[in-house]
């Protein structure tokens, strides 16, 4: 168990979701174990002692966005609702607990909220998340809350500007220091087409790892596939793209076997994209600026309310089409394949980016980088145009 604690503490630092040295992780076996920053590991253990769960993560996020969201919310607001569809599907909402509510017994106050939700934003503390079944789940839920707050804060700033003391400075530091140039430079991809299954698996593992390392997806999300003849090699459901060894399913395209029941929930989308485009390589990530920008729409008085699943329009962000659609057995697998063939990339509303490579992952990876860079540039162009002040633009954010 201690090795698992060390593993996830390391992952949180590597993916830059936590202030270095400011994470505490607790796990219970027949005894309680905790590691990390003394105050946070103690809090994690105290929270965990109130819950029927395996693990708890308590950490200070590397960006203050969650804290800002909490402080920007009206005092009577008890939860923050993620705007991106992926995390909202799994988190529903994120409870917030304010400093005064933590005054007595902070662990009990946080545990009361975690008894009903996967993650909590605690003012002055950070994000606290639980893992009911495994310790990895606590890490995933922390990561999900971090992702949801990141995207939501980008959109709030664009819509409302900075409202709190210090926000502007913190955001400038985020823009100038935290964000790094995003490129595919220095990465090595096989050219393809690939026919040898061993080579395919090796390339999938490498491309998945690159996607996480370059920040195009948080570790737990995303999926990846490569087609060889009548077989799609695809990452398994709930697989981390940076840990794909043994987590890729070979799925026959004629469905003569159901071994792929553990394949990614986006198997159908990958299959349809293969069929529609002939592409061999497909990469799906959740780059945050692309997720955020996909939710900005210029249509006023639109009758569609649940844009994320019901919008039938194909919008464009630069040369990249944006479509709506539910994940899994929803509409994404219907709406992405018709639009992705030409540009080689597509954004799913509030969800993430699909990118294809005709023969190899290099093309797909570079496309995803391009989409995210375009969205990042466009985001800051719009923000600069408003001088960081509340928006008066016709663009609005569909928040349902």
């Amino acid at each position: 168990m201690r090795s698992l604690i060390a593993k996830y503490a390391g992952k949180m630092e590597r993916d830059r979701s936590v202030v270095p040295g400011r994470a505490g992780i607790a796990a219970q076996d027949d005894v309680m174990l905790s590691e990390g920053a003394p105050d946070l590991s103690r809090l994690a253990a105290d929270v965990l002692s109130h819950l029927s769960c395996l693990g708890v993560v308590a950490a200070s996020p590397s960006l203050p966005f969650a804290e800002f969201l909490l402080r920007r919310a009206n005092p009577d607001v008890k939860t923050i609702v993620p705007l991106d569809t992926e995390t909202r599907t799994f988190l529903h909402d994120i409870p917030i607990v304010r400093r005064e509510e933590l005054a007595g017994n902070p662990a009990r106050a946080i545990a009361a909220l975690l008894s009903n939700r996967k993650g909590v934003i605690a003012e002055g503390v950070g994000i606290v998340a639980s893992g009911p079944v495994t310790l990895e789940q606590a890490y995933i839920n922390y990561s999900s809350v971090f992702h949801a707050c990141y995207v939501k804060y980008l959109l709030e700033v664009l819509r409302e500007g900075f409202l709190l003391p210090g926000e502007g400075e913190a955001f400038r530091a985020f823009r100038e220091t935290f964000l790094r140039p995003l490129t595919a430079e220095g990465l090595s991809f096989r050219a393809g087409p690939l026919d040898d299954p061993g080579e395919v698996l090796s390339e999938i593992r490498a491309a998945g790892r690159y996607t996480v390392e370059r920040g195009l997806v948080d570790s737990f999300f995303g999926n990846i596939s490569y087609r060889v003849g009548g077989t799609i090699f695809i990452s398994q459901t709930a697989a981390s793209l940076d840990e794909l060894a043994g987590c890729v399913d070979p799925v026959p395209t004629d469905n003569r076997s159901t071994t792929g029941i553990t394949a990614s929930s986006e198997l159908l989308a990958h299959r349809r994209i293969c069929e529609a485009t002939g592409a061999r390589a497909i990469l799906h990530g959740h780059p945050k600026f692309a997720v955020a920008m996909s939710m900005l729409c210029d249509v006023k008085d639109c009758p569609v309310k649940d844009c994320w699943k019901d919008c039938t329009r194909v919008r464009m962000l630069g040369d990249t089409p944006v479509v709506a659609g539910e994940i899994g057995a929803g509409g994404l697998a219907v709406r992405v394949p018709p639009v992705i063939g030409g540009p080689g990339k597509a954004i799913v509303y509030g969800h993430g980016v699909f990118a294809i490579g005709r023969d190899g992952f290099g093309e797909a990876f570079r496309s995803m980088v391009d989409v995210e860079n375009l969205c990042r540039e466009e985001y800051f162009r719009r923000l600069d145009a408003r001088g960081g002040h509340p928006s008066t633009s016709v663009s609005h954010i569909h928040s349902r």
């Binding site: 159901t258 029941i261 553990t262």
Partner: protein
């Protein structure tokens, strides 16, 4: 709104509807929890004692549009295992029972002659059933078709087969532990329910939002709605996966790969029988599959045990075995596993041609069937080879070899009803990666995982919801559904605490009936013989020392002594 149960004394014919104390429902929810609580005063009675009750109970979500929640729990003491026993089943019965204004039926006493208990919204009556006695389930259900939904026993239950089932008219089974035999001893051939009341929802907005969340998670789950998932292929979707993971029990668990398994995989069944989807009331998953001729098609456990476990790859023979068990009212897992143990003991597994007649002999206790009707443990002991019964607490193990999933190994022995995969269902995370994946070849952390899952599933069985729903959703959404349905506050944590109370109550009953740590053990084969390694996957024997260490951890997490016993005798007295 007050909830009621019908109490029926078959000995006297006395029946009365009683209000269920609200504090019991707050503490035990319904379903399994309520049934277990209602056994409190009589849990040490023999399963066949006339005073031993059989409880049919639904949960607080039944009758609402909560997905997968129209399920019935049947609770009593098992004649096969001697443990407290419950089993849930889908179909239409639960919904019609709730619509008759009842949350539960408690049946006690023995009727002097065969009867059918017929329940409607207007009242209940006992009908003579001499003409139905000896009839198969199909004929019985047809004869009662005008009376709503039917739960019936077949000849196996009448003749005291220790793994006889209570069959729902829609083809679902209350299987495994032999509760059909308990009803048979009571001379209760069937129960029919035909209500017409609606169930109110306290907070419709909250309920609908939670329901939408559940359905979205179902759609996001490849196991549920994926193109290779159980909605498409039913549970036989697992056949190929278990083969690939090298943990398909074969020839009485001597091996873990059966090369003929593709003959009865999900796609093979669909191709051979034109399998169509069918669902329990209000269930969007519709995992049950029916042939184009209307026959109920077998589940994963059934095809695997009548297949690999007996070395048979003939799909049509397997489907015939399933048909026979359903009509005779017999559990397919225990029937197939008992035949397999008997086959190994005599040096030859039964052929496809032999199995049909043997199943009828078991149900009617004819010839060798009389011994086989006692289940694999008693068969193996009678033949002087007790080690050949692949069971825990006399309940035959299902089709997940414990050498291929160590959480499953632990959960088999900690299960309060014997060797069952559904109490903790670690296959969900060890194999199906839901809600997240865990390392199937380690015991590390498994004691805590199993404990939490047992508590969770005890709550799920008391709601009563289908375990398959939790391949996508979680208690988070079901607590919201419950809060919306009842207007009362519930959280996943509070539900798990209820589940823990139910689980410990069951364990306490079992302890009072003589069960100890010695009963929490796997057959020796799993510690001494390897499975079928290959294709880069090693299936070694389970490390007994490490297994024992994790079991001790499990007891400590449960608040038990290291020998698995309770620290004091006062547990029940502290429970509501």
């Amino acid at each position: 709104m007050p909830e009621h149960m019908l109490v029926v004394d078959l000995s006297s014919g006395w029946m009365r509807r009683e209000e269920i104390p609200p504090e019991l429902l707050r503490a035990y929810l319904g379903g399994r929890g309520l049934g277990v609580r209602l056994l409190r005063e009589r849990h040490t009675l023999s399963p066949f004692d006339p005073a031993m009750p059989v409880v049919f109970a639904v949960g607080p979500l039944c009758g609402t549009p909560a997905p997968t929640s129209a399920r019935i729990e049947v609770v009593s003491r098992s004649p096969l295992t001697g443990t407290v026993y419950d089993c849930s089943a889908g179909g239409r019965f639960a919904w019609r029972l709730r619509a008759a204004g009842l949350l539960a039926i408690l049946v006690e006493g023995n009727s002097p002659r065969p009867v059918v208990l017929a329940v409607t919204s207007a009242g209940e009556e006992l009908l003579p059933a001499e003409e139905l006695w000896t009839k198969g389930v199909g004929e019985t259900v047809s004869a009662l078709s005008g009376r709503g939904s039917v739960a019936a026993i077949g000849p196996a239950g009448e003749n005291g087969v220790l793994f006889s089932s209570v069959m729902m008219g829609e083809g679902n089974a209350v299987g495994r532990g032999g509760l059909g035999a308990v009803l048979g001893r009571k001379n209760l051939k069937a129960v029919t329910v035909d209500g017409d009341r609606t169930v109110p929802v306290a907070d419709r907005v909250r309920f609908d939002r939670a329901r939408a969340d559940v359905l979205r998670l179902f759609r996001a789950s490849p196991v549920i709605f994926g193109e290779l998932g159980i909605s498409e292929y039913g549970t036989p979707a697992l056949v190929d996966l278990m083969r690939q993971r090298r943990m398909a029990p074969t020839e009485n668990f001597r091996r873990t790969v059966f090369h003929g398994s593709s003959c009865y995989s999900g796609p093979a069944i669909r191709a051979a029988y034109g399998a169509k989807k069918e669902g329990c009331f209000g269930c969007p998953i519709r995992c049950k599959k029916r042939a184009s001729d209307g026959r109920s098609l077998p589940e994963y456990e059934t095809v695997s045990h009548f297949g690999a476990l007996n070395g048979i790859s003939d799909l049509h023979a397997i489907v015939r075995s399933n048909d026979a068990c359903n009509d005779l009212g017999m559990d397919t897992i225990s029937a197939a596993a008992t035949l397999s143990a008997w086959g190994e003991a005599r040096g030859r597994f039964p052929s496809p041609e032999e199995i049909g007649p043997l199943l009828h002999d078991i149900a009617h206790r004819r010839g060798e069937g009389d011994l086989l009707a006692e289940g694999s443990r008693r068969v193996a002991e009678a033949l002087g080879k007790p080690g050949l019964s692949m069971s825990v607490k006399s309940l035959e193990l299902p089709a997940y070899d414990p050498r291929g999933a160590y959480g499953m190994a632990l959960a088999y022995v900690t299960s309060n009803r014997g060797g069952c995969h559904l109490r903790a269902y670690p296959i969900s995370h060890e194999i199906l990666r839901k809600p997240v994946a865990s390392d199937r070849f380690t015991f590390s952390g498994k004691a805590r995982m199993i404990k939490i899952a047992e508590d969770t599933n005890a709550a799920v069985d008391s709601l009563v919801a289908c375990k398959f729903a939790f391949f996508g959703a979680s208690l988070e959404e079901y607590a919201e559904l419950l809060a919306g349905a009842t207007g009362e506050h519930h959280t996943p944590q509070s539900l798990k605490e209820i589940g823990e109370r139910i689980w410990l109550t069951e364990r306490f009953y079992n302890a009072r009936n003589g069960f100890t740590r010695a009963d929490d053990d796997l057959p020796a084969r799993f510690f001494t013989e390897a499975g079928s390694s290959g294709e880069g996957i090693d299936i070694p024997p389970i490390d007994r020392a490490r297994f024992g260490e994790e079991l001790t951890k499990y007891y400590r997490i449960r608040g038990l002594r290291d020998d698995g016993s309770f620290p004091d005798d006062g547990f029940l007295g502290r429970q509501p």
